[in-house]
Amino acid sequence: MVAPAKKPYRVVGSRPVRPDGTDKVTGRANYGADIRLPGMLYGRVLRSPHAHARIVRIDAAKALALPGVKAVITQADFPAAEDAITDLGETASNLKWLVDNVLASDRALYHGHAVAALAATDPHVAEDALALIEVEYEELPPVLSVHEAMAEGAPRVHPNMHTVEMLARFSPGPRSEHDIPNAASHLRLEIGDLDQGFAEAEVVIEREYETGTAHQGYIEPHNGTALWNESGELTVWLSTQGPFMMRDQLARVLKLPVSKIRVIPMEIGGGFGGKIPVYMEPMAAVLSKKTGRPVKMIMQRDEVLFGTGPTSATYVRVKLGAKRDGTLTAAEAYLAYEAGAYPGSPVGAGGMCMFSPYSVPNQRADCYDVIVNKPKVSAYRAPGAPAGSFAMESTLDELAEQLDIDPLELRQRNAAVDGTRRIDGAAFQSIGNEAVMRAAAESPHWNSELQGENRGRGIAMGYWGNGGLESSAYATVNRDGTVGLVLGSVDIGGQRAALAMQIAETLGIDYEQVKPIVVDTDSIGFTAVTGGSRTTFATGWAVHEAGLEIRRELEARAARIWEVDASLVHYDDDGVIRGPEDRSFTFREIAGQLHRTGGTVQGKADVMPEGTGPAFACHIVDVEVDPDTAKVEVLRYTAIQDVGTAIHPDYVEGQIQGGAVQGIGMALTEEYVYDDQGRLRNASLLDYRMPTTLDVPQIDTILVEEPNPGHPYGVRGVGEVPIVPPLAAVANAIHQATGVRTRRLPASPRVLLEELLPEE
């Protein structure tokens, strides 16, 4: 398919100030933790000190005796959960697992697993009371890595769980023919004939890789304030990426009809996929019901690290077959990703994405979702893709070296193009993969010379599929010629601006004439999460369609005012409505007449658009490795990405820069450190080391714009793919600097030094 020619836009592509900006630079914006209600209680959660233990007894008498403590709950205070599936938009999850993860039933399955919660009149009293809840545990042996978990005879975290084939996970069968301990599911992705592919190969290379557990690391801890009133209506104020997903999960956990639940999304301080599942929100609700008062719960930072979804630690093995000229003939991968205590790792996406930038006729990926005694993972920016791509892109680099081909050249020779089939059989349409590689090859960074000792340059590609899903929007024309735009998509990084810009473009009016607001679940139709790189795309479709409806209505109104046939009236892209005999209305003019000619005009839309455009990225990085300390310094970084159309280039660049730096963190410093009993040893932002201003350089971006034909303004999702290439790009750069291939990330000085020392 041919991409539509880039249109000259008036608003799209400009860089206006975001509508919520002033409140956010003056401290006035209201985030979830900023809610205060009369009579409010403060809730806290008691967490398991063990990675795996039977809960023998919980005695809350002493805690309840403390003045100010109003209630203590355990899972017994929730309605009983049966096995059923709940759909979270980014992940599907069994209800029983969901409830057990919120509050442990008979066993605590990871260090930090919630076992009880309480509410008190004062936060200090709540904290004191936690220490007074007595819990008797019987410790059980923990399973702490995919290798341990899948070994023959390994203790099973869920004794009745058997490996199922992924497609059938939620149906009664079929069980996999190969039952592997703690492997919740196996997914095979396959295209072509692998044996034949390897038979054709002149070079075969096989390598193994591992990555550690990394957390999304949003700066705002999870929070939620619940009020369950006397008529059984539940209102929850919180920070979430998906108010409707939250409502649906609460309905299922609490066995309430959705009409009894109102979720009010406050401003959200980061999510990256981690603020979609329920954690303490149902506890706050039940505590409110028990006490008849609003209950506010805010996680401490260590609880965020203990108890909310990180992304999987992984093991990936890759085998590539190629001709001497570099043509790939076969690609095979084995992926085992930690799911944490309940099934649902993003391993399938890892297998799906890793080979996608390339045209390889014969591919296979075997993906295992593995239960371990660690927190249940949740989505994290392009979930599953970074680890798989780290393995693929590192192996490609080594192949390039073996064949003495420039690493970018090797990638270009094998680039997936329109018509190339992915591993799931689908053929690509209108992709910017080659354009991205070309832009990388022409970039100032790639063409510069890297000088100095102990320095190296690395390059890697990344792919992500991007999301569609359901979005609602409506827009009202105001008398003064402005438009009120009502959204169900929460604004996590400039979405109000990006959506206001699109409807302004559709209506031919100025950006400043649009007043966007984000509303609660009672005030708009179902809207899926802000996540999955879908909001600017799918909610963008919704605001565009709402805008088109306004155009049609205004044409009809102008026809009525002019007393002419509606077919003679046209709403033009410049926002002027033109009729016969040179009659015309500007948007403002007709807006001012609406109330006297039949009332105001609204446009509304609920969409589930298809036509999402996949995203490709190429990152280039220069590093210097200190030969004595093995500290890796990132000297220069360039991220090239096909963004479709950059609606607001600042926010597109910002997504790319933020994702790249998160990827650098995964590559160099970020990792959960467990002791041999499965206790998390670095549950603070001092010890879980995310990049600071001193750890990264400016991140240069090159935006390639290959418009997505599946969107009126050519939008592709941009948010997720930038976290995919950095891991391998950094590892490849370290190799060039030191000669050492880091097959385990993060390449912390401790790990890297071990590799470096024998070299000396």
Binding site: R15, T22, V25, G27, R28, A33, E220, G654, Q698
Partner: protein, 161 residues
């Protein structure tokens, strides 16, 4: 049980007297006792800078200061940065440069940047990175934050108009 204490201080230029728990940190006192919600909590541990405020002109993390310690002191929070109805240059450049995404780190960065610019009106990129190293931002990768602060320095320098 802990006891209550009365604290007299000056917050954002106004005298303030409030009842606090003796265990309250300055962050808790600002938010829970005074309702000044602009100062954010990211870690409660001194590691993220979201709670940065000026205490007698010095940049501190409010979660590491006890409320009782601010008796008789002057505190400036993000709510006190703007002058009357005008944003200060670094607030403007944060908006113009897209230096915030989710915005939860922004109050802390603005207070820290303000402290930097008071001390070094024309900082180098290195100085900016050094002064802001105690503030974590997970969304932006820092690029646009650094640019916004450097821009603000230039703007404050330029003849007004």
């Amino acid at each position: 049980m802990s006891s209550r204490i009365i604290i007299s201080t000056e917050i954002n230029g106004e005298p303030a007297e409030f009842l606090s728990d003796e265990r309250d940190s300055l962050l808790e006192a600002l938010r829970d006792r005074l309702g000044l919600m602009g100062t954010k909590e990211g870690c409660n541990n001194g590691n993220c800078g979201a709670c940065a405020v000026l205490l007698d002109g010095r940049l501190v993390n409010a979660c590491l200061v006890m409320a009782a310690e601010v008796e008789g002191s002057q505190v400036t929070t993000v709510e006190g940065l703007a002058e009357q109805d005008r944003l200060i240059p670094v607030q403007e450049t944060f908006l113009e440069r897209g230096a915030l995404q989710c915005g939860i780190c922004t109050p802390g960065f603005l207070v820290a940047a303000h402290a930097l610019l008071q001390e070094h009106p024309r900082p180098t990129e290195e100085q900016v990175r050094y002064w802001l190293a105690g503030n974590l931002c997970r969304c932006t990768g820092y690029d646009k934050i650094i640019t916004a602060v450097l821009d603000a320095a230039e703007r404050a320098d330029a003849p007004s108009g």
